[in-house]
Structures are given as C-alpha cells and as structure tokens.
C-alpha cells in the first residue's frame, strides 16, 4: 500500500509545485496509514531526487528511457499505471497542470480509478473517500465521493502549500514494459521562450485589460512585473485583439491561476475573468470606474487612471525595495 505521486521535472529540476504535490501526498498517506512513493521519469540527479524525501516521500521510483524526453501521453500513463500496480497504490496524485491533465484521465481508465480533478485540500473523510474540488470554474466547490478502490487526484497548483517533514527517501530504478502502441505521437519541433516568469508558477502577476487602451501602453505593466519578479497576464479581449500573446489570457477560457498577489489594471472584472483569478491570495484592482465589478473580487482597490496610478505604484515599489 502506498500513495503514489508523479513528480514531473523541468530539465532535470523539480519546482515548488513538485514539493507541494509530495507534501499533499504525505498528508493523504498520514490519513490512510501508508507511505509516499514518488515516481520520477527522466534524468534527474541523485541530489535533486533526494529533495523529495524532505517533503515526505519515503521511496522514489526512477524511470529513465531516452524515448521519454518529450511527453507522450500513452507511454507516460502506462508507466504511472505500472508503478501504481507494482506499489499497490490506492491513491495516485498528479498536478492539475497541463501534464497532469494529459495523463490522469488515461491512468484513471487503466486502473479503473475514479478521478477527481482540481482538488485544493485533503479529503474530508478517507472512508468513504470524500474530497472537495472546484466546480463551475471556481464559482463553487463540490464534495465528490470516489467509489472505486483506487483513486486519482490532481492538485491545483499553489493551493496546498509545501510542508517539510525532514525525512529521506530510498531510490529504486524501474524498467517499465513499453511497446510501440505506447508511442503513437512524435514531437517534430520545439519552440521555447526563455527568461520569462511562467504565469502558472508566478507568485505575483501583473495583468492588464482593455483599460490599458493599446499594446503601446504596456510599458508600466512590464516594468512593475520586472520589479516584483512577476509574470504578466491580460484579459481575454486584450489577447483576442492581439495586443498580448495568448499565453497571457487569464480567466475561465484562458489560464486559471492562484498567485499570492494579482494586480488587475484596467480590467472590468467580468465574471469569466474573475473565475480564473479568484483563488489568488490577494487581489489589487486599479480602475477608473468605481462601480467596476472587479472591486467586488478585490482586496485592495485604487480608483484612478492606470496611466497615472501605475507609474506612482512603480515609484512606491522602488522605494520599498530600496528600504527593505
């Protein structure tokens, strides 16, 4: 028996989200009286792997295979299922990020394990297994009961937090059995943008809406983001107009994010936009219309023109940075 957690790596490194997943798995293992096994696929060195022990993994299963340099849904989900069978895992945990969304459904069918996607917290009860998840794009929560013996959960990024438990883990190599049927997709070409803070990983996000009036006015948004080590985002019409790239589109039909701080400049706060940001720990709204709905979602509000407020905020952040 164990709780299996799939810890993805990025060029051989784990991220905060990996440690958050292991911390969450540890919480479930404690509730169910079992231990955590982490699965790593790809080339990760021993020192990096050992970090997982510190968050509660007692065993790490490592799979290395040159055919697995890119995500192949068939092969990866097959490996996760094989390891879950071998470890007798009753709960399998993945991130609710692109990779987790790609793999969890396939693993669910392979293991006949009920899937609850997008959970934020530990189950309210282990037997029967009941866990809360977001529904209606963040407008509500649902308590979901999993009826099957095996369960699969995907955890929303930045929802549970990391918890160090100071343990260490043993590492075991595993050779999965894969066949041609697992490799039906092939990556032809990769295009990477480097040097930008990823929107989904960012602790702080500075976002602009149609109130910014045009792409030529994005200077203050980028400057503020640069100062704060933040990612930049935008509302849907801004990306639809081509003012900003589509990866920045935030909201119900774009990216759903949960940073610690979300600064919305010139965004009206339409229900579809708020659906994507409402899990942020703190929301600041800058809008010249004191009746804009964004103020209902915000913790702090500034009524004023973005072209005046943003430069003033930039100055205030600069002096704060120099004092702290």
């Amino acid at each position: 028996m164990s709780v299996l957690v799939y810890t993805e790596n990025w060029d051989g490194k784990f991220k905060k989200l990996s440690f958050e997943l292991v911390s969450f798995a540890k919480g479930i293992a404690e509730m169910t009286g079992t231990s955590v096994t982490a699965l790593s696929i790809g080339n990760v060195d021993a020192e990096e792997l050992n970090k997982l022990g510190n968050y509660g993994a007692s065993k790490i299963v490592e799979v290395k295979d040159d055919r697995l340099n890119h995500l192949i849904n068939g092969a990866y989900s097959s490996i996760i299922s094989q390891v879950a069978e071998k470890e007798g895992s009753s709960v399998v945990i993945l991130s609710n990020n692109n990779t987790g969304k790609a793999l969890a459904p396939r693993v669910s069918v392979k293991l006949k394990a009920g899937l609850v996607a997008g959970v934020n917290a530990l189950p309210s009860s282990a037997n029967p297994f009941i866990i809360k998840k977001k529904a209606f794009t963040g407008k509500a929560f649902a308590n979901v009961k999993v009826k099957s013996d095996k369960k699969i959960l995907t955890l929303n990024q930045n929802s549970f937090g990391v918890k160090e438990s100071g343990g260490s883990a043993s590492v075991e190599a595993f050779s999965p059995s894969l066949n041609d049927a697992d490799f039906k997709t092939e990556v032809k070409d990769v295009h990477k943008v480097t040097g930008k803070v990823l929107l989904t990983d960012a602790e702080i996000v500075v976002s602009g809406g149609r109130g910014m009036k045009g792409p030529e006015n994005w200077g203050p948004i980028e400057e503020l983001a640069g100062l704060l080590g933040a990612a930049t985002a935008c509302s849907r019409p801004v990306s639809d107009e081509g003012w900003r790239p589509h990866e920045e589109h935030t909201g119900q039909t774009g990216k759903i994010i949960a940073p610690n701080l979300y600064i919305a400049a010139g965004i009206s706060g339409a229900i579809q936009h708020v659906a994507g940001i409402s899990s942020s720990k703190c929301i600041v709204a800058i809008n010249k219309d004191n009746e804009a709905p964004i103020f209902e979602a915000a913790d702090y509000g500034v009524i004023g023109d973005v072209m005046q407020v943003l430069p003033a905020l930039i100055d205030a952040v600069k002096s704060f940075k120099s004092e702290n």
């Binding site: 989900s77 969304k101 459904p105 009920g114 529904a135 649902a142 703190c282 702090y300 509000g301 009524i303």
Partner: protein
C-alpha cells in the same frame, strides 16, 4: 477523413451558480445552456479545416451524452455547420461514464480525428478526452492550441511550459484542445439554422455503465471581505498594506 467533436452542454458562462435540495443539486432554473466554450472553438476549427481540405475531410460530426433536453445544443452545433450529430441518451454522471459511453457509441464509426475541449465549464473534470482515447486504445495529445491538416495528415501544436511543440500523431487520435485552435467561435447563420432542422441527429441508447465518482453536495465560496480603497495619490500606503497586512510583498 472524418472529424468528430465531443460536445458538452453547459450553463452559460454568466450564470449565477445556485444550488437546491440542501445543496445537493445544481439549480437549473432559468439557466441558459450553451455549447461548452472550448467545444465551440473545436467545432469552428474543424469546419475551417474541412473547408480548406479540397474534399479530403468529408465530414464533421458532433456527439454528446445527455438527455433529450440537451438536444438544442446539438442542433446549434448543426446550425454552426456540423454535418450530423449523435446523442447518447443518458444523464452524464461523471467523466468516466461519459467517456465509456462515447467510446461505445463511436468505436466502429471510423473517425480519424476526435476533438474534445480541455474541460467542461461546469464540473471542470478535464478528463473526457483523455479517458476516451484510453477506452479506444488510441493516442491523445492535450493542451492543443492549433490544428493543421497538411499532406493528408494532422499536425497539432501543443502548449508546454514556456513554449510549444509541433506534434504528429498517428490517426486515429484524440486532440484535447484549449484556447488558440480558433479565436472567435463561429455563430450560426440564418441558412445554417434552417438547414440544421433537417440534418441527421441520431439518438443511441447507452449500454449500462458505472460511474466511479459521485457528487455529494456543493458549496459556494465564502463571501469576500469588502475591498479596502486606497487613495490613488498614496501608493506608498498600498505597498505598505501589501507588505504588512496582506504579507504578499
């Protein structure tokens, strides 16, 4: 070549979410039902591909698991331009059951490309497409933000952290799409609406399937504290609040 789009029937995105029966059921009173926004983009892109394929793509079909009350959504998809529709006559219980019912209904229909939305905007399962691929034993590519049809095959663009990849997949396969495959969804024309009335909409019964999960009840998020207003002339104060009160700086 034949393309199939899996359609989910969801409440309009502006719907105020309420629950009834002791918070055990979604209050459908007065709710407008729409094609799940991603499925609408998928349909839009499939029609563009068909039109640009010089006949190589013969047909774009749509399918949905749902009771009779969900038929207007399928008719709308026909009005937008789908050639035919299938409704699996069952209450959609969970993603696992829906994917199994879809697989059952289409396994012998020979679709080359099956497209599903990344998630449906109601239960946010992000699961039907991947499960369907697994039930059918075919490939899946997810986070798809572009689909092209070139020299008789499909190429898809997949979003990855900080970039994108071009992926070739052996047909048949399932593409699980997100924003980007199309930007503006197509809307039905008057002619489309007229034609939709006579386009084939096949109803198939579903063989019994088991759902693995069950929605016990629902909660609304806790009410938010009132927004604290800060003088636009005093951004030092805002920074100070973010530092000492919200503790996010």
């Amino acid at each position: 070549m034949k393309i199939l789009i899996c359609i989910s029937n969801v409440p309009d995105t502006t719907t105020k979410i309420r629950f009834v029966n002791d918070n055990t059921a979604f209050d459908t009173n007065g709710v407008q039902w729409i094609i799940n926004p991603w499925d609408e983009l998928a349909l839009t892109r499939a029609l563009e591909l068909k039109e640009g394929s010089s006949g190589a793509i013969e047909k774009v079909s749509v399918i949905s698991v749902g009771p009779q009350s969900s038929e207007p959504t399928l008719r709308k998809a026909l009005a937008i331009g789908a050639d035919d529709a299938i409704r699996v006559n069952a209450e959609p219980k969970d993603a696992f059951a829906v994917a199994q019912q879809l697989a059952e209904a289409i396994k012998d229909e020979g679709y080359d490309l099956i497209i599903s939305g990344i998630e449906s905007s109601d239960y946010n399962g992000a699961a039907v497409g991947g499960m369907l691929a697994e039930f059918l034993g075919i490939a899946s590519v997810s986070s798809v933000s572009g689909i092209n049809f070139e020299s008789g095959g499909f190429q898809v663009k997949r979003e990855i952290d900080g970039g994108s990849e071009m992926v070739a997949a052996q047909t048949p396969f399932v593409a699980i799409i997100q924003k980007g495959v199309a930007i503006v969804p197509r809307i039905p024309s008057m002619r489309g609406i007229m034609q939709a009335r006579t386009k084939p909409l096949k109803v198939v019964e579903s063989s019994a399937t088991d759902n693995l999960t069950e929605f016990v009840d629902y909660e609304l998020p806790p009410a938010k504290a009132a927004c604290k207003m800060v003088d636009p002339e005093n951004m030092k104060e805002l920074v100070n609040l973010l530092h000492t009160e919200a503790k996010v700086l």
